[in-house]
Amino acid sequence: MKETRKIEFGFEIFRIIVALAIAYGITLLCIMIISDDPFQAVYMFAVGPFTSIRRLGQLFGKFIPYLLTGAGMCFVYASNRFNLIGEGVYLMSGCLVAYVAVQLGGAGIPHILFVLLLLVVGALTGALFGSVPALLREKMNINETVVSIMMNWAMLYLATYLVKTKMYDNSITYMASKPIPQEARLTALIPRTQLHTGIFVGIIAVAVTALIFYRTALGYDIRICGANPKFAKASGINMTATLILAQVMGAALAGLGGAVDILGIYDRYMWTALTNMGFDGLIVAVLSKKNPVFIPLGAFLLAYMRTGASILNYTTEIPIEFVDIMQAVIILLIAAEHFLGGFKEKLIFRASKEKNKEVA
């Protein structure tokens, strides 16, 4: 048994490396075909994020919210619910946090208290909106995917409405809130980069998620409910409560992600389209195989890829649409669960065969 687990673990790492190698191979091949200066393009895509402090900062600017949305979607994904509410609450809590920050700005609240208050607002917004699809699913058996996707659009338009009617700023021509007051913003750890103090919030959230998952009864219940609902029911776990709690906590973390992102990177709230950060959080959760310990790795990988693509876009002539396609190829290969699956089974089979021989 122990043997199997060891093989599985080693194999997982091997699999990700192979998938990455193939995906990058395809990507690089494509760059070679379409670019006039393929070496520059390849260099920017692969090494670009590490060529200056600011670019590394841009990577962290993505990494920080990914930690939070990744941890959030881990809760949802581990409970085997396909609830996509993270996408909408990310935006909604960004909007409400910006609103509260603008309203309370200049009231003389100390920086730390102000930020903590805003983070609480973000998490509560997430929990509040996230509870709707969770309750509908567990109490009335309404498909959570449909509800959450519809709610994402509803929240987008609600946020847009709030910006338009409640945060009007006549010194700009596009739709955005008034500037977020300086004392509400998360300070940059390295000046002029996007590496801000939100990273501590992210790390704490991941650590707490890992503790809940592997050191508490609740985490055990969530994992069992997700992995084997019949067994969970037979062992007397309160499934309804557990699953609602898991989805609400996931949404709260996603809301926290939106709050941290708005306070860390943006001057104003200006999301008038879905941000994709919630869906990216799901990718992080998939990459880390529902294991919160791996979230920093998955988040870093995705942030690295997104940043490389962005730098590729603004330093070379490769069109942005193509950059998006390349990212999709990479994510597809890494996320494919059964990629090389046969090989893993063979390894496990051989190992157990040998063990049987030894025993005999």
């Binding site: 379409i34 010194s171 104003r268 962005s310 069109p319």
Partner: protein, 383 residues
């Protein structure tokens, strides 16, 4: 075997995508190339002050046939005129990366003149970074005239008085209508869109206080079929003049009006951004042109060239957002032969004198940016 096949298929798919991407890449106005070629030729006859500059134009995405493209056209035209080089960076949809791309371009040392729109925080970035890069000049267009950038002596803002041009469009609509019902379609419920509406509604009230204006909003996407649906409903309800404030969705309106007999049946359309009658006449949709009596031009490209002209002359007042109205050629009705031939003589006379009054400041055109808040605007619009 199956797996090998799958991998081969993936590769084939990727390769075909690459091919598509390749041709797409070809369309993208590549940096320098053409313009710097022209540069070499024109350098000799060049400018009074000789030294070549290098423009970087930042926008969300090219290919909208409207705002983004016009800014790039203006930057290229100016570069060609003075023998400079011009580059473009398309920032894409992810606004969190804008600041890095912006600062990266400034730090690259390749550019000494930044041209941007104001959208998605780009004007904020100009305000934030201009003081740190005194050797670079910044021009941000479509800013709000109420923005305060005084003291930043390497940033110039262009505000378009779309309300002024739309005021004339509204007055024309008020004079042309027989049913006293007038319509407008706006691409999205955003401040700039509502500035168009403010001018238009005020124009209608000025010329024809009895007329009633109905306004429909789009969702911000280039959706021609939606505009066609909206205009169909408006025409059905008796509206006979429609102002389509959406360049990319405009074919929907033109198609519907053409199908109903156009101007000969008493249905008029007013175009936006460019001189649409001329543009459509030259396109494959030439038969759509005849419903467009005139257009409210928002001359982004010409205004950028005009601004750079003033910069070269040394007369550009940096540290200021300047409204470009009818006088500056920033906005205005397209005064083409079709407009002159189709509009009744007394209306033409009225329009000419009204335009003069607006230019002279005798008639004050309200602006969306003057309203206290959104609710105040809605109340005024619907009164």
């Amino acid at each position: 075997m199956k797996k090998l096949l799958a991998i081969l298929l993936t590769l084939a798919m990727a390769a075909s995508l690459a091919a598509c991407g390749g041709s797409g890449g070809g369309d993208k106005p590549a940096s320098g190339g053409a313009s710097s070629g022209a540069a070499a030729q024109q350098g000799a006859s060049g400018t009074a002050d000789g030294d070549a500059r290098s423009i970087i134009y930042l926008c969300m995405n090219l290919g909208d046939l409207s705002f983004n493209d016009l800014g790039w056209e203006g930057s290229q035209n100016a570069a060609e005129k003075y023998g400079w080089s011009a580059d473009v960076i398309e920032l894409g949809k992810d606004t969190s990366t804008y600041e890095n791309a912006f600062v990266d371009a400034l730090d690259s040392g390749k550019y000494d003149l930044v041209v941007t729109q104001s959208n998605y925080g780009l004007s904020d970035l100009c305000i934030k970074y201009a003081p740190e890069y005194p050797e670079i000049d910044f021009i941000s267009f479509d800013m709000s005239a109420t923005a305060d950038i005084s003291g930043i002596d390497n940033l110039f803002g262009i505000a378009f008085k779309q309300n002024e041009g739309s005021f004339l469009a509204g007055a024309l609509a008020g004079k042309l209508t027989k049913t006293n019902k007038i319509g407008a379609f706006v691409f999205n419920d955003v401040p700039v869109g509502n500035d168009f509406v403010t001018g238009y509604v005020a124009g209608v009230r000025e010329a024809n206080p009895d007329a009633e204006v109905s306004i429909a909003y789009g969702g911000g996407t280039a959706d021609a079929s939606k505009l066609q649906e909206v205009s169909s409903a408006m025409f059905d309800s008796g509206v006979d003049v429609i102002y389509g404030i959406s360049g990319s969705a405009y074919p929907g309106l033109a198609k519907e009006a053409t199908g109903r007999g156009g101007i000969d049946s008493g249905l008029w359309c007013i175009g936006v951004d460019s001189d649409m009658w001329t543009v459509y006449k030259a396109s494959e949709n030439a038969d759509y042109a005849d419903v467009i009596v005139t257009s409210m031009k928002k001359n982004v490209a010409d205004s950028i060239v005009y601004t750079i002209d003033r910069m070269v002359e040394g007369s550009l007042p940096f540290g200021k957002v300047e409204p470009y109205g009818i006088t500056e050629g920033g906005v205005g009705l397209a005064d083409n032969e079709y407009y002159r031939s189709k509009t009744p003589a007394d209306v033409l006379e009225y329009m000419d004198s009204l335009q003069k009054d607006v230019v002279d400041g005798k008639v004050k055109v309200p602006s969306y940016f003057d309203f206290e808040d959104y609710d105040a605007f809605v109340e005024w619009r619907d009164q």
